[in-house]
Symmetry: C2
Subunit: 242 residues, 2 copies
DNA sequence: AAGTGGTCTAGACCACTTC
DNA sequence: AAGTGGTCTAGACCACTTT
């Protein structure tokens, strides 16, 4: 899967925004200028701008141009599909991952059966990781990776980036995820592992899918409420959700 | 602002998915067939499908077709930009709104000054509403609407849908919002109004903008943790956030 | 009037899946 | 080989903003 011209242009513009070559509050070069700059058609430039628009990086204003928006400095957003490793790298945080458990199983662990009641898959890999920020426990990630398509998970992949292993080594195409965020009562085990001050915990439950719509991963992320922050960008829709 | 052909097609397909004319797990008619059906070019059909794709309603699979996804029956999602009134209507819930306060002010209330430290605007309308679900308090919404562009807010608009009033009566174009979700310690006032069992509350803070990038609204939504649920759909990005 | 973005088209060629 | 989606183009016309 090689990136399209439109995506390459979007990445280039995003990079220039990050490097302050295009400044927040100012307008990008016009679509005609970008068309000449990148040597493509205008529709291709427009597809690139549409990607940046939907990410909240620019706002298009008819008759005027495309303004660079201020996304703010997000302290650890959980929006989108990104692994902890990717976030840590791109934000340069002092984060650490401790793998607590990595085992194959032929039965869906009870924890997952409870939170994903309609789930049928039962063979897979159970993974438990504690995430530390500034040497303090912040998140307990429990993953269940489906076998197939994932037969093995090297400890190094669990330690670093699962997604990198799935995409680069196994050639799987990670595509989308559904997530829910709720607040739950913490078990004694959780209280201890996350050093919670009271018995509440934030649960981010997600089910992730490959591009052929196969589910491949369930994740239960237990966050220390005091350290939890979810950042979102949303555009007003003219299509009602299902 | 009239809808484009692509948006009309997307709305039509979404409607057909909702009415089970196109079923979850099956493929939509091919792009060529849709092109004939709607009497447009293929690119226009593709723009319609892209809208449904980004909402998580379909998944495109090369060589096969566009599969209808199961979004699940979300119990009160807070994703996207939708007003409580719109959600209530589209989901047919037993919800009620009590307007507790609606006053003009020349100073940004301290509550907002604290949660949005960089905010400069000070003249506006303060609105406080309690949302009840099944006759139990679920959310306390505190809004600050900027003057200008919003000079007045009729009680009926506060009672029903603010967005409907802004878009239909004032002709404003609501475009996007940034939100953060955190867990905070509840004040005694909040404990009482939301009938909280303990002293934690979920805070959804959002800043909303018009299509010309003017901010027009700050919202602090305090949720009873026991009734809070946030549902999200996310696609894997090939562009890094800013 | 000139420049900006918004929409739409008809056609081309490619990559992937299925038969 | 035929059908599917993925990409890209060159051009047209419209709506809005600015001068």
């Amino acid at each position: 899967m090689t990136d399209s011209k439109a995506t390459l242009i979007a990445q280039d513009i995003a990079e220039k925004i990050r490097h302050k070559q295009f400044k927040v509050g100012s307008f990008l070069p016009s679509e005609n200028q970008l068309t000449k700059l990148y040597g493509t058609s205008r529709e291709t430039v427009r597809k690139a701008l549409e990607q940046l628009n939907s990410l909240g990086m620019i706002q298009k204003i008819q008759g005027k141009g495309s303004m660079v928006l201020d996304l703010g400095r997000y302290s650890f957003p959980i929006s989108g599909i990104e692994s902890f490793a990717e976030l840590n790298k791109s934000l340069g945080m002092n984060a650490e991952t401790k793998v607590l458990n990595l085992t194959k199983t032929k039965m869906l662990p009870g924890l997952f059966a409870e939170k994903f009641p309609q789930e049928k898959q039962n063979e897979g890999i159970y993974l438990e990781r504690l995430r530390l920020l500034a040497n303090e426990p912040a998140v307990l990630d429990c993953d269940f990776l489906f076998t197939p398509p994932i037969a093995e998970l090297p400890l190094s992949a669990a330690q670093n980036s699962i997604y990198q292993y799935l995409e680069n080594d196994l050639g799987l195409e990670v595509s989308y995820a559904t997530k829910t965020i709720t607040v739950e009562k913490a078990t004694e085990n959780l209280r201890r592992k996350l050093a919670l001050e009271n018995d509440m915990v934030v649960l981010v439950a997600s089910r992730s899918f490959l591009s052929d719509t196969t589910p491949f991963q369930l994740t239960l992320s237990f966050h220390n409420p005091a350290k939890f922050k979810f950042v979102d960008f949303a555009r007003r829709q003219n299509i009602k959700p299902q």
